[in-house]
């Protein structure tokens, strides 16, 4: 058939998990062109606003962004200094109080080991936030470097990377986690973070590759090349700033899912290991007592759900702000 197909089935597969791909270079062009009249559409110097200040302008007025931002701010604060609101030690437990309900000074009651559920829930934020932030940074860095290089240089690099991402996508994440992490005895968060980076990078690299390919076809890249700019300068000064937005959006949403994944792995017994305090461990430990002491299960579950929800809503708000096509 001579006609070019309007859809490429293989290409259409990318990004389905995150609800659609983005064409940022194109949407940025529309942002710059639209410049509606009045003070709303122009910056202080009367110039059209950039994509970033436009997005920031939108985000400041978005109640979803403000609410989720406040929740995340609170979470990060208690992750850094849990003693601010929970002065107790999460590892000090009194078996004689096991599964007791709420009492004065211990509003969430006690778990199966007689530990204070309130203290453990507050202290559990640290593990979740650390894993989420570190895994996201690692995945975003590795994925955008690999994907960006493949998109920019094309050919052999690209073919190898595309096949590699296909291979990693074919492995179910939870199974990979069970197999790889079941041997780990370390009680730190690093094995879990390392595993997430190892299996998570293809998601970002696909998006980074696509967005670099779109960005490199722009005239300003051609102009820079005509002026004799080196590859590294073109990549870092011209392409990267224009291709990074989709990566940021997907990474923000992924942060929430990594926190959920950490809890799931800890629930299955291969994530963080007991002396660490984590919501997943507490939920797993509380599930046998679900009949007579559901409070030990509900508080950490609620904390986990609110945390993941906050990060996913933040990612949603950032996507709406950065992709004007969705309005």
């Amino acid at each position: 058939m001579p006609e070019q197909p309007p859809y490429q089935p293989e290409g259409a597969m990318a990004g389905t998990g995150m609800g659609g791909t983005m064409d940022l270079a194109a949407s940025e062009a529309t942002t710059l062109e639209k410049t509606p009249g009045g003070p709303e559409g122009t910056g202080p110097e009367g110039k059209p606003r950039s994509l970033w200040s436009d997005a920031w302008h939108d985000l400041r007025r978005n109640p979803v962004f403000i609410a989720s931002g406040l929740v995340i701010l609170f979470l990060v604060t208690i992750a850094i200094r849990p003693s601010l609101i929970a002065p107790g030690n999460p590892l000090t437990c009194d078996l004689s109080k096991a599964l007791d309900g709420s009492q004065s000074g211990h509003p969430f009651g006690y778990d199966g080991q007689g530990c204070d559920v309130y203290t453990r829930t507050v202290h559990g934020a640290r593990a979740s936030v650390t894993v989420g932030v570190c895994a996201t940074l690692g995945v975003a860095l590795l994925g955008s470097v690999l994907g960006g290089l493949a998109g920019f240089f094309g050919r052999g690099w690209d073919a190898i990377l595309s096949r590699a991402t296909d291979i990693f996508f074919a492995i179910p994440v939870l199974l990979g986690g069970l197999v790889l992490l079941s041997v780990v005895t370390s009680t730190t968060v690093w094995p879990v973070v390392g595993f997430m980076v190892l299996l998570g990078w293809p998601q970002i690299s696909r998006i980074a590759r696509g967005s670099v390919i779109t960005a490199k076809q722009n005239d300003y890249v051609l102009a820079a090349r005509a002026l004799g700019a080196s590859n590294s300068r073109i990549l870092l000064r011209h392409i990267a700033p224009n291709a990074v937005a989709p990566v940021i959006v997907v990474a923000t949403i992924a942060l929430g899912t990594y926190i959920a994944l950490e809890a799931t792995l800890s629930y299955l017994g291969v994530g963080l290991k007991p002396p660490s305090v984590s919501w997943g461990i507490d939920i797993s430990a509380a599930s046998p007592y679900i009949r007579n002491a559901p409070h030990a299960l509900l508080w950490p579950s609620g904390a986990l759900a609110i945390t993941v929800l906050a990060f996913i809503m933040l990612g949603d708000a950032v996507r709406d702000a950065l992709d004007p096509k969705l309005r």
């Binding site: 074919a170 492995i171 179910p172 069970l178 579950s301 929800l309 809503m313």
Partner: protein, 307 residues
Amino acid sequence: MGRYVIRRLLQMIPVFFGATLLIFLMVHVMGDPVAGLCGERRCDPATAAQLRREFGLDKPVWHQYLAYMGNVFTGDFGTAFNGQRVTELMATAFPVTIRLTVVAVVFEIAIGIALGVITGMRRGRPVDSSVLLLTLVVISVPTFVTGLLLQLLLGVQWGWMRPSVSPDAALGELIVPGLVLASVSLAYVTRLTRTSIAENKRADYVRTAIAKGLPRRRVITRHLLRNSLIPVITFIGTDIGALMGGAIVTERIFNIHGVGYQLYQGILRQNIQTVVGFVTVLVLVFLIANLLVDLLYAVLDPRIRYA
């Protein structure tokens, strides 16, 4: 079309071997499989050496991999260390997980697409906003929390169902576990359908269909839905593999003896043959589902031509 199918099949080959090799290597990082065979005690060196020889573990990893793959293609997935054939384990485990996955996919299609159409047609109305918020909540709450909560409410507090599933896992018992397994994907299907319907609602062919006097129902089902479902089908297709792999959590909560249960046991007992065999089949399922989705594209969207 024929050439396209062949090209896609050829593309599957390196991915299949790459993924299985990766799993093979991961399992070998898992540690010494023979150590798990002698119970709590340390193995007698002579016995260990003999066991290694018996299972071919004394050869280099690549040799083991090739030998294993050779056997797989003749339908031999090896023997678990307790003497049970892995294919026997599969024969008992896969039907259960397939039933569970089917229930989950039916939920995704029935509820997800229906909600997506309703919200997509009423974008910005209260129905739309509340369903959208609900999907966000469902996506945010990890599956194991949803599962435990439903088990607590339906199974323990209200007594509507038994908290755990019996070994033969009849279809009726799998409804709640299937809903739990489907929950996150269900929310994604709703959101995808909604976006897609809202985009296509203003398309020319919809206006034409309305203009020529077709009833609203027919416009939605035959014109709008058929075109809007293309991304949704892709998602559901790729999700089948993920559902079967993700069933490990659901199966653990409701004590279902399916693929996830066997895999979990295999990993706990360091039973290489079981783990590699099951994961190999899961990878195959994922690849075949993806292939079928790509082919379905042509049926759903006549604009697509495969050169």
